[in-house]
């Protein structure tokens, strides 16, 4: 299938025609509208997109032009992408929730003359910055509501554009000939789309991709996960995000599977259950939210149900993953798991909409082993991938049966990975971008001379599994004085996966060893204290309790053991730790508003503690100013104890990463 796709169709319009031929009467797209799932077959989609393309051309869209696509996942916006590509224009999807200024930046930078938008909200947003967008000529919209009284000189419904194109195709033979010529003359090396990065690090950049490369990359992963025209995916992640464009649009076009658009963002979870997708992607955050929701509902359930749930989740934890990985499991375990599947796992998966999921991915941030293990244990084939917009998503992915919570898998077929001396991951892939739009300087910055792309992430290959482990942003990775690599976030995350630990700040760059400051989780540790008759009057008292120190020490020891198992990380084991007497708080500037620790700021604020961590003293005094919720300020002073840790012998001879 993959080879057929690449041999015959090197552009998306050609793929669409192929799909209409091969799967003409199979569903290509579904959308829930007025409470009912509407379906369009590949044949119908081709028909609409052809008319739409001619309509766009009549409006003035030409080969090489850019057209913005702004809104939620809706068929008409996906068709806008297809129709633009058919004309030879380059679609530029923009995040629907971008504020007006961000939108203006992208629209202006991408030189768009046209914008296909979802509704009045987006029209208003663009109109509010229209004086910054002299190049913008026409807006076309999906949802008519509220737009009736607007000046329609530069505004019209998508339906009208399609209808106009349809009329032209029916009446004018030259329009048909023109369109067919456009499709034939499209080359694989033409740009297919510009995806703007979200701009978490600096201004957003337009990643330019081509038809041929996108299709090559997509064909590889379609083959990797054995996706076929019988699969179904729910398109609920932002249209402008590389993940949606790749996983749904591109893979859907290549494999010919159906993508379903939810009714609106709030109904996505219900729609998921109704559609029952076979291919699913969710960021760790979403998976965590789902699990929390299930847990809360189970706590409210009746006694019998609750017992049953906890018992069988325990069974799943013991055998589930091994069964999924096709490893040997005793017969009794198999039978119990079967029973659990009947009573608990299958109904649970049904509620979550996972009943038919064959392949599920998560990516974007580190996922806790507990969380990851839970979903796998109930039989969801959840895997991890690592990717980037610049790679056109996939760099690595875990193959079925080789799943670990702390790796992102080996390189996907045809992708080449290299790791530099300072630990940065470089890759070269069939789908990689051709450059940042109108920004050669930035392009040159991330490309190496021999054509590899710098990811900005630090990582290494795990010895045992051969999988890549991503540990931190490359610029945050430091070195201990003996040259051992020190990725703070990697160590912090390992500790934060324990429910008793809320925040961690790790130090080690240009130091002799790694030391950490820990924030306990009041809810988790507090409930432990209640159960074990540990009396405490305040957070500070609980944090300083010797028994609490004992618990945390166990966690740190476990982390050290897991660090020792990696040859590269063995030297970065934690030697000393302390438990902070107060919770780190965004109001005090210790965390960012998105709850990330501000390592540098904390080092200054708790300077005396950091010094004590490294001068060998067993306790230290600290006084910090705090801001109360009503804005008053006060001081908290405390004597904080510091514990030494034993380190494990590292695996193999200690070869320095450097």
């Amino acid at each position: 299938m993959a080879s057929y796709a690449t041999a015959v169709a090197d552009t998306f319009p050609k793929l669409l025609i192929r799909n209409a031929k091969l799967y003409g009467s199979r569903p290509a797209m579904r959308h829930k509208d007025l409470g009912i799932w509407q379906t369009w077959t590949w044949g119908q989609v081709l028909d609409i997109v052809r008319a739409y393309a001619v309509g766009l051309h009549r409006l003035g869209l030409k080969r090489g032009d850019t057209i913005a696509v702004v809104g939620a996942n809706r068929p008409k916006l996906y068709w806008s992408v297809m129709a633009a590509q058919m004309v030879g224009a380059i679609p530029v999807p923009v995040y629907a929730d971008a504020v007006a200024d961000e939108l203006a930046f992208v629209l202006d930078h991408a030189d768009v003359r046209f914008a296909a938008v979802e509704d009045q909200e987006q029209v208003d947003k663009i109109l509010s910055v229209s004086q910054k967008l002299p190049k913008l000529e026409q807006m076309i919209y999906d949802e008519r509501r509220g737009l009736r009284d607007y000046d329609h000189a530069r505004l019209r419904p998508i339906d009208d554009v399609v209808a106009e194109g349809r009329k032209a195709l029916a009446e004018d033979a030259s329009a048909v000939a023109w369109l067919d010529a456009q499709i034939v003359s499209g080359k694989g090396s033409d740009p297919s789309i510009i995806l703007y990065t979200s701009g978490t690090t600096g201004a957003s950049k337009g990643v330019l991709l081509t038809h041929e490369r996108s299709i090559l990359a997509g064909s590889d992963t379609v083959a990797f996960d054995k996706l076929t025209e019988k699969d179904v995916a729910l398109a609920y992640l932002p249209l402008a995000w590389v993940g949606d464009h790749y996983l749904n649009y591109v893979q859907g076009m290549i494999a010919g599977f159906c993508i379903a658009c939810p009714e609106n963002t709030d109904t996505a979870m219900q729609d998921l259950r109704e559609i029952g997708p076979s291919f699913y992607f969710a960021p760790p955050r979403t998976l965590e939210m789902l699990l929390t929701r299930v847990t809360i509902r189970m706590e409210d359930a009746g006694f019998l149900k609750r017992k049953l749930f906890h018992y069988f989740v325990g069974i799943a934890r013991r055998y589930g993953e091994r069964i999924l990985n096709k490893q040997p499991v005793p017969l009794s375990g198999r039978l119990l798991y079967r029973l659990g599947d009947f009573l608990v796992y299958a109904p649970l998966k049904n509620v979550l909409g996972f009943s038919r999921v064959r392949v599920a991915y998560t990516a974007g941030e580190a996922i806790g082993p507990e969380l990851f293990g839970f979903y796998r244990s109930i039989g969801l084939n959840l895997k991890q991938l690592y990717g980037q917009t610049e790679a056109f998503l996939y760099v690595t992915a875990q193959p079925d049966g080789e799943i670990y919570s702390d790796t992102v898998g080996p390189a996907i077929p045809n992708v080449d990975i290299r790791i530099t001396d300072n630990g940065e991951v470089l890759f070269k892939s069939p789908g990689m971008f051709t450059g940042y739009f109108k920004d050669e300087a930035k392009t040159a910055e991330v490309m190496t001379e021999d054509g590899y792309v710098k990811t900005g992430d630090a990582g290494f290959f795990d010895e045992k599994t051969g999988h890549l482990k991503i540990i931190d942003r490359a610029k945050d990775v430091g070195k201990l004085n003996d040259g051992t690599m020190f990725p703070p976030k990697y160590i912090e995350n390992k500790l934060k996966f324990y429910p008793n630990i809320r925040e961690v700040v790790a130090y080690g760059d240009k130091r002799d060893f790694v030391a950490v400051m820990i924030n306990i989780d009041l809810a988790a540790v507090g409930s432990w204290a209640e159960r074990n008759n540990v009396v405490y009057g305040s957070y500070q008292e609980l944090a300083g309790h010797p028994l609490v120190y004992d618990i945390i020490e166990k966690h740190v020891a476990e982390v050290n053991r897991s660090l020792a198992a990696d040859k590269v990380m063995g030297g970065a084991q934690i030697r000393r730790f302390l438990i902070l007497h107060k919770e780190l708080d965004a109001d005090d500037g210790e965390l960012t508003r998105t709850q990330k620790v501000r390592r540098g700021f904390i080092a200054d604020r708790y300077a005396s503690l950091v010094t004590a961590l490294y001068d060998g003293s067993s306790e230290a005094d600290i006084a910090t100013e705090v801001t109360f919720e009503d804005g008053r300020k006060g001081t908290i002073s405390a004597r904080v104890k510091i514990r030494d840790m034993k380190t494990e012998p590292a695996a193999g001879a200690l070869e320095k990463a450097a």
Binding site: L34, G35, G146, E263
Partner: protein
Amino acid sequence: MRAPSGPEIAVGDVLLSVENVSLSFGGVKAVTDVSFDIRKGEIRAIIGPNGAGKTSMLNVINGFYHPQQGRITFKGKARGHMRPYDAAYGGIARTFQNVALFRGMTALDNVMTGRSLKMRRGFLWQLLRHGPALAEEVEHRHRVEEIIDFLKIQDIRRVPVGRLPYGLQKRVELGRALAMEPELLLLDEPMAGMNIEEKEDMSRFILDVNDYYGTTIALIEHDMGVVMDLSDRVVVLDHGIKIADGTPDDVKKDQAVIDAYLGVAH
């Protein structure tokens, strides 16, 4: 689709007029000699301090109370003795100050009840749910889904309204009133008890209803800011007496209104 009875009234003409209406309960005079009109297509507000007789006025329009004196003309026809369901059949729908929904029923079913006036098949037919009754239900369900889409409550379609937050319940209630496809929509304190965000949403919906369905709206409201932004014309009551009537700007400047709201030295 409009309510069938009565002549067609052009936008801007008087849809409903209240002439010299007085209403009292025993010795308590709720409304005294009040006259005003509501024109087709406008958003008309009735405001006033607590106990000014606003809700009584609404109940009079709605046919729930019968005024001892005065006359009410709706669509050119003077109304005699009228019951609330006559008003409903005549094209007047309302929402209530305290949400009055069927708490155990889903949002969808609640909105669906708004269609019951339009159902032509009898109870037995509907029980059968076959043939014409089914076709009719599908048609009504389609209308209801349009309203659900309009009010953006798709995600709570299947949730019993008793479990919904207050702001959403208000929205469902508006949906039920809209399902009647009224010519005149009476809203009794649509924003009461809402936070700012909910108020903004509700204002948006009220303007959209007026714009999209062309529904004439009469609303009672406490929140002066909201009233002044939303309405085309405002009538002000105080102690059952009309003290002002005009555009929001005129009313704001009216000394009698300022006195009624801020109090005046006696």
